[in-house]
Symmetry: C2
Subunit: 464 residues, 2 copies
């Protein structure tokens, strides 16, 4: 899909100039001159980015931004405000209203194109996975209410012997995480030591930091594991638009001119810290989601999806090494009755407690999984018949020995629940096609244990 | 953690020069002069990158590469071979032995540092999530055996009016996916249309493509959704090392000189297509892993982890809108006996078929989940008592009406299994603290249905 860029600007000459500045990049440009037109274009297709024309007092632009940021479906669309934006209070007001970046008229095509690329690139890692909407919601990606200032450690990078830009000083003082000041060389040492900040403010407007050095610093920060996910803002000399554009393409997250006012800088740093916070949280949720995909939510044990391939890998390994592995299928006796007599809440508590006791009674390399309602699997690599029988008896008695708590609400002294386990065990060092697998043999042994009266261990006879 | 870079070079002067070329970047540099030293250093800490000194005939370097690439723990460590590498057959041999990149002596520090950054940056998205090793294995990330040539569409970008570099022609002919030739402007149009290649070969050594244009093309390819995950290689004029370094920092995946031989170019394109194939697969597995985290592996329904928060969101919505939602808890009757009589395989088939029938008999916006062994949950937003009772009866009769297949292996005509369902239903438009939730009321109604003889629907009386 081509990137769809909406230019909304009531002034015809401005629309034409903005359009011309982007023509080279071959975006799918759509143009709106009124708020109503803009709404229609947004309905026709979600823009990937909006260029919003601003002419003071810009009531229309503010109304548009307010509407956009209040719309849950569209609030994530990046906006660059384009206009004569030299008035500091207008700049701040437009940023606070929700613009992601500003572009001064007359528009510099090289810089504007780089700004657009930067914002198009800043799509989150989750969006890229194209998850189903339900999954997104289930993982809570759409959570709200963290618009407040995120704490974060800030490093200001200034060439050796240079002072911190006056606009930066009051901002540093007001940041909750505090900040420190480094020269470029110390920055690299600091990154090397793994003790890196969340946000870097690189002063490339100061005497003594050449464009090449700025570019290298940005590239170094992006290449190191410890700072790849940090956010960076560069302070650039006014009118160095080629340098500014290159810095954006190299991966800097934001730019300000050396003439920036403290209030605007503060706003941008806050926005960057929030951006980092969201990206960190999204990665963490992704990690947790993937971890969850192999575990059973109730007990925290591995689930069937994980257990069956893992079992196969253990039996394959046993076939290669010739050393026997033991497989147990374990089933809670009369679990249905527990559920019926004491209720599902107690049933769940029993499952959790059984899982806990099993997990506490196996060796480090053994695997415990919940593979069905009240059915568990234990896989023990490199285990002989004697050790397997001992282990199974340990698991069985570990359940029988101590009664379980029931969970009758409103009942002052809930009666204890007696829980027992039947276990089928099979051993082998390999499986032959056409013969029962270790799992099937263990399952058959479990069936014998059930028939023979439950609460016992049954060993499968070794395969012929 | 600082990036740990191992320099293994038997020649003392080369070691010193390589070390000096990287000094500025403040890596944690460790040095080895023999293969034994290198092994010791690799045991002390896994290097993030290796610089391998090569002096023809380079038997030691080839042996080292062979050992590294055969070691499952270390085969992923990137290697840059450093030496006098003007001989095309030596270059090719070193690449084929497993070097990721080559660096000619005398070393250009600017270019070498950019090559190092490029390879440090190329860590995969999965490694960054720091998953447990078991999870990695479960998702099959460590699969092997796809070292063969991956098909992929290739676009060669050459300035308008220029011919394709002679070395490129035979390579294009041999690529299974084929290739086409574009000028930079058509490239941007093509990307815009969403019809983009997997691999871009950008000829920046040809007359008419200025460095700024190369940089912009790289940045455009990286910023667009359709080409962000493509791979790119630039052909650069010999001795334009600053341009080459900048191209790497902007995100090009590989570089060759305009003097490249077809065999080396072919090798590099194959390596890039393999890199892309792996990255695509890793993203797909990540996506599937996250999707899996909210579904039950056996039935494909939502699992308990998803269902309970989703239920809460529906009841919250009902409380806000004042429109009733219906909640059903459904339980297969005598499921334990089905398992005991027909075996677990049949039990699983019954669960799958029940899930299929339930899912086929609800409305689009309703949710069906498996929340326990044989227990299901159905949530129906904006549903009144009559519609809920009808739906529940439809679900109940949908299970009773048609017998299920059993799964007795070796049994010529497996007996059909009769399956029935008990259902508890509760309705409400909000829940009050201290009073039973909709779920608890549905669960209590299910209990009544069980007591009253099973295979029936029981409606919870509305809350007072």
């Amino acid at each position: 899909m081509p990137a769809r860029v909406l230019i909304f600007d009531p002034t015809v000459s401005s629309r034409i100039l903005t359009r011309a500045a982007l023509a080279e990049a071959q975006y799918n440009l759509v143009v709106a001159e009124s708020s109503a037109d803009a709404q229609v274009e947004m309905m026709r297709g979600r823009p990937d980015l909006i260029l919003l024309g601003v002419v003071a007092p810009a009531a229309g632009a503010f109304a548009f931004l307010a509407g956009l940021r209040a719309d849950p479906q569209r609030r994530g669309i990046p906006v660059i405000a384009v206009g004569r934006l030299s008035d500091p209070s207008l700049r701040l007001a437009v940023l606070r209203a929700g613009a992601d970046d500003l572009c001064d008229r007359p528009v510099d095509p090289v810089l504007l194109q780089a700004q657009v690329r930067r914002l198009l690139r800043r799509s989150d890692s989750l969006a890229e996975l194209c998850l189903r909407e339900e999954t997104h919601r289930a993982l809570g990606f759409a959570e709200e209410g963290e618009e407040f200032l995120q704490p974060g450690r800030v490093s200001v990078v200034v060439p050796e012997g240079q002072a911190v830009l006056p606009a930066v000083v009051p901002v540093l003082d007001r940041l909750p995480g505090g900040g420190d000041v480094l020269d470029p060389r110390s920055l690299l040492t600091r990154i090397g030591s793994g003790d890196a900040a969340d946000l870097f403010v690189i002063d490339a407007a100061a005497e003594g930091l050449r464009p090449g050095e700025l570019f290298r610093l940005i590239a170094e920060l992006r290449s190191r594991a410890s700072t790849r996910h940090s956010v960076q803002i560069a302070i650039v000399p006014p009118d160095m638009t080629d340098m500014a554009a290159m810095a954006l393409d190299l991966g800097v997250d934001d730019l300000v001119s050396a003439r920036v006012r403290p209030a605007e800088l503060m706003h941008r740093l806050k926005a960057l810290l929030l951006q980092k916070h969201r990206a960190d949280r999204a990665r963490e949720k992704l990690r947790r989601g993937v971890e969850n995909s192999v575990t059973d939510p109730l007990t925290g044990l591995y689930n069937r999806r994980y257990a069956l391939p893992a079992l196969k890998s253990v039996t394959d390994q046993a076939a290669r090494s010739g050393r026997m592995a033991a497989v147990m299928v374990l089933d809670i006796d009369h679990f249905k009755e527990i559920n019926d007599r004491f209720g599902h809440a107690t049933g769940d508590k029993v499952l959790e407690e059984v899982a806990r006791r099993l997990a506490a009674r196996v060796r480090v390399g053994d695997m415990v999984a919940r593979i069905g309602g009240e059915e568990f699997l234990v896989v023990m690599p490199e285990t002989d018949a004697e050790a397997a029988a001992e282990a199974a008896e340990r698991l069985r008695s570990g359940i029988e020995d101590r009664p379980f708590e029931s969970n009758r609400e409103g009942c002052p002294a809930p009666p204890p629940v007696r829980v027992t386990l039947s276990i089928g065990v099979a051993l082998g060092a390999g499986e032959r096609p056409g013969e029962p697998t270790l799992f099937e043999r263990a399952d058959a042994a479990l069936y014998s244990a059930k028939l023979a009266g439950r609460n016992m261990v049954s060993l499968s006879r070794p395969a012929a």
